[in-house]
Amino acid sequence: MADHIVPTRVYYTIFAILMLCTLLTVLIAFADLGVFNIVAALTIAVFKAVLVVLYFMHVRYGTRLTWAVVVGSVFWLGILLVLTMGDYLTRAWRTYG
């Protein structure tokens, strides 16, 4: 197998960044940012997930086909979330009881 062997220091660096992001997300949760609390939390979570996908799951060093499949999953999830919430967020005639 001709797979690229990722040096372990890359794994340790990514791990350190993930730990920092975890600390950051907990700290930010206790700050009052209004509607941006959820934006910050999700941005950090997406950033952490991207790091895991690219480096721990080797997508950065893998084939284009693998990358396309991963992007495809994000796209489909996006359709699910955007169209679902687009429906609910535009229901001006209905109030939740």
Partner: protein, 230 residues
Amino acid sequence: MSPDAAGHASAHGGAAHHPALAHHFDNLAQQSEAATLGMWVFLVTEVLFFGGLFATYAVYRHAYPAAFAAASHELDITLGSINTVVLITSSLTMALGVHAAQTGERKLLMAFLAATMILGAAFLGIKSVEYYHKFVEHHVPGPAFQFEKEHIRHAQIFFSLYFIMTGLHALHMVIGLGIMLVMFWLAWRGTITPEYYSPIEVSGLYWHFVDIVWIFLFPLLYLIGRHGTT
């Protein structure tokens, strides 16, 4: 070459091959790429599997933000944070395990697989402590559910989502532990070599995915509206 491969080779008309190479692949590299792609396609289905639950969460949190915040405060942020650290560390040990497989360090691979399993078990242990707390505090949806009157109906929705999403995640962790046990056995048997470590790589993909699900579950369940609280 092992005696099996040599005897097997005669069935090919003399062309021996690596014992792990299946006949419909040209070589181990192609087989490995196919395995990786296959696991990724499965993970895409898992993204949509959990995605449906996340979409449900989004709809109900949008509908009842105050109740969700109140309910979220009842979750133990310390245990949740510890579990997040535990899982991310287990992803590190898993990645280091794949590295050890690539460099042919069998004992190190077994050590990292064991570490991954221990961390995964620790996660499940902490989770069960949390579930116990929820049971004792009457936060399990059903006839015994108790909450402040103002939010009781919608807090039950939050806790339903909490148990279903973390429960499904925990089920995936248990399956992951089973997979890691098999990987440990394969490593112990000497099946895993620098030429053939695809099972470790592919199991690692599954494990990292389960970690990613938790990376999203943690802030969405534990960290709602924590500002202004201790």
